[in-house]
């Protein structure tokens, strides 16, 4: 296991009204993302527990692209990763932002 943490300054607050959302499953080659609207609007934090050791540089690149593209201001992501491929990580993060961006709770 490896713990990674990333903090980014973000231009804009993530849309929507929901406070939390969860997507994905903890399974081999997959990951679970819990997203909570708990940070100031210009901040974003991602905390990762991953089964695959030594992919810090790849995570860094995936997350930098994600933040640039989706501007997830105010969101904290807690990720349980079962060794998912980077493209799956990108997809789950995007799905998490879409889910928390929906109306309602």
């Amino acid at each position: 296991m490896e713990d990674l943490s990333f903090q980014h300054k973000v231009g804009a607050r993530a849309g929507g009204a929901r406070k939390t959302a969860i997507i994905g499953v903890v399974a081999s080659g997959n990951l679970e993302v819990l997203v909570e609207r708990v940070l100031p609007d210009t901040e974003c934090r991602l905390e990762i527990k991953t089964a695959a050791v030594g992919f810090g540089e790849v995570w860094n690149a995936v997350i930098a692209d994600f933040v640039e593209r989706y501007s997830p201001g105010g969101l904290k992501f807690s990720i349980n990763d079962g060794g998912a491929r980077p493209d799956t990580v990108s997809l789950r993060l995007a799905q998490a932002v879409r889910l928390i961006g929906e109306d309602g709770q």
């Binding site: 695959a52 992919f55 540089e57 790849v58 690149a61 995936v62 060794g83 491929r85 980077p86 493209d87 799956t88 990108s90 997809l91 995007a94 799905q95 879409r98």
Partner: protein, 559 residues
């Protein structure tokens, strides 16, 4: 004027030594046979009687159909009588195929495909247990059967035989006609194992005068379901990649005649035709004529009226009744069952298809691809012929001409060759996060280790026209230099080392020229790539689509 040579003084030349040798072998074998029929317990003795040391032997190892009884019998021969054989077979598939080399029955190997034995064959090649001739593509090995690798003895498999020796191969005809043609018409001996001996065969796949001995096996020959992809295992990444391929390649080129590889990405395409493809209004415009095994994943597209015709290399377990009921689509015999033929279908894929699309394990910066890793030698099989531009092609078609024009816009249209679309599709990271894109192929390392003159390349970079990953479509036809090509490949290589080392500015320029097309450039939202888009999401769904005609093997049933 020269005097005519005196016929009396000329030394006697024998021009029929091969026939005499064949007759001697047949006579020795006949002592163990009743007519052509040999009891299973006598087969090893039959082999000792008809096979000579150093013979070229084709032990039929197809993709699906295996002459397993004959392999075991050959393995048991007395080494004093039979040894150092030169095996010339398309598939090295059963453990017995390699046991022959461990025991010394066989010494040299020329083959095409070794999927299930890929790890062991690599160890044996490194260990010097096998003297390797070459790893071939199917058509290439078949061609050599008629030139310099003609078998002395062929050991083949069929479903049934009559007492004269007419053979019914069943739906998995595969390599049998080719192997028998080369052996029987060049004074070789043909031995067939059959599941049963009957009064009349359902249809004659191999005429009796090409078959010398028949053995009834106690259990049916081994068949493996190689082309069944469970829709339940298809990922969102594969669905996205499949959407990009349909909208970014099938649609703009109007690809109607094609071959699909056997991976999950192409299974996803098959399952998206009746849903995503339908929504795009592509029905009747793409994917209507296939060189393809009877993939269960294609059932929903067939049932929805997408597919007009399929010719097959071999069959697939569980598809028999479905094929029988859909003879408008498949090639069938007078008995109603599928007639497949690997050599003809490979030729069809090479010359009559406008596109090959399939996955691979490694792609380098020139676009060369390989399924060989340093510990596994899976061989080639069919992909290199499907995935190659046929230089002998002369008939025009819209996709072929369009691809040719993209590659060479300056030439005069009437003198310009078309191009086959050769598409490599896959996710940027494969099993265990192994990157699809590499700076140096493992195949090169292997070639160095084994002292091979050629690295085993599945598809050469100059044949590849497109690469599709979840990051986008790279159109290599539009690249005008080696460095553009390299950046186009890096530009769809995602977060692999190769992808992260891209020149971002150059990749952006390539994107503006349409050399690289991202999901958003094609109007596709990655978040729409959802399993609910698949026309079937489980094997059970496929059974339902088939009206109960598809009977999946038990390993794919969970109900």
């Amino acid at each position: 004027m020269l005097m005519p040579t005196n016929a009396e003084s000329k030394p006697v030349t024998t021009w029929q030594r091969q026939r005499q040798a064949r007759d001697a072998r047949l006579e020795a074998g006949a002592r163990l046979a009743h007519g052509k029929i040999v009891e299973a317990r006598d087969v090893t003795r039959l082999m000792e009687a008809v096979i000579r040391p150093g013979d070229r032997v084709c032990l039929e190892g197809d993709n699906q159909k295996q002459a397993d009884l004959l392999s075991s019998a050959l393995l048991a021969v007395d080494l004093a009588k039979v040894h150092d054989l030169h095996m010339v077979q398309s598939g090295v598939v059963l453990p017995e195929h390699l046991d022959l080399f461990d025991r010394g029955v066989a010494k040299k190997l020329d083959y095409a495909y070794s999927g299930p034995q890929s790890a062991r064959i690599a160890r044996m090649l490194f260990g010097g247990k096998i003297e390797l001739g070459a790893i071939h593509t199917y058509l290439e090995l078949f061609a050599r059967y008629f030139i310099d690798l003609t078998p002395h003895v062929a050991l083949i498999a069929a479903v049934s035989a009559d007492r004269d020796g007419n053979l019914y191969t069943g739906p998995n005809t595969e390599d049998t006609p080719t192997v028998v043609e080369a052996t029987a018409f060049k004074d070789g001996v043909v031995i067939a194992q059959v599941n049963e001996i009957v009064d009349t065969v359902p249809r004659v796949d191999i005429p009796s005068d090409r078959v010398h001995f028949i053995v009834k096996a106690e259990k049916p020959f081994f068949v493996e379901p190689l082309f069944t992809r469970d829709p339940a295992a298809i990922t969102e990444g594969q669905i996205l990649t499949a959407m990009l391929a349909i909208k970014g390649i099938y649609a703009p080129y109007g690809v109607q005649r094609l071959n699909h590889g056997i991976g999950f990405s192409t299974a996803a395409i098959e399952l998206l035709l009746p849903t995503f493809g339908e929504k795009l209004g592509l029905k009747g415009k793409i994917a209507s004529h296939f060189a393809l095994n009877p993939h269960p994943a294609l059932i929903p597209a067939i049932e929805s009226g997408w597919v007009q015709q399929i010719h097959s290399f071999g069959s697939e377990v569980g598809m028999d009744e479905y094929i029988r009921a859909r003879s408008d689509i498949y090639f069938t015999g007078p008995d109603g069952s599928l007639r497949s033929n690997r050599a003809f279908c490979q030729t069809a894929g090479l010359y009559a298809c406008d596109m090959f699309i399939g996955s691979t394990l490694q792609i380098d910066l020139q676009g060369n691809s390989s399924t060989i890793t340093t510990s596994r030698i899976a061989g080639f099989g069919g992909a290199p012929n499907m995935g190659a531009d046929a230089r002998g092609r002369r008939h025009p078609s819209e996709p072929w001409l369009k691809a040719g024009a993209e590659a060479d816009p300056e030439s005069s249209p009437a003198l310009r060759r078309g191009r086959k679309l050769v598409v490599q599709i896959g996710e940027t990271f494969g099993d265990k996060n192994a990157p699809l894109f590499v700076e140096k192929l493992d195949a090169l390392e292997l070639a160095e280790k084994l002292n091979l003159e050629l690295a085993p390349i599945m598809i050469y970079g100059d044949d590849v026209t497109h690469i599709v990953t979840e990051e986008g479509v790279a159109n290599l036809l539009l690249c005008r230099s080696a460095s553009e090509r390299e950046q186009a490949i890096r530009g769809v290589a995602g977060y692999t080392d190769v992808g992260r080392r891209r020149d971002r500015n150059m990749v952006e320029r390539l994107r503006q020229r349409g050399v690289i097309r991202r999901p958003e450039d094609l109007g596709i939202n990655p978040l729409d790539a959802d399993r609910s888009m698949l026309a079937a999401r489980s094997i059970k769904d496929l059974v339902r689509w088939s009206g109960g005609l598809y009977a999946p093997p038990s390993k794919f049933r969970n109900w």
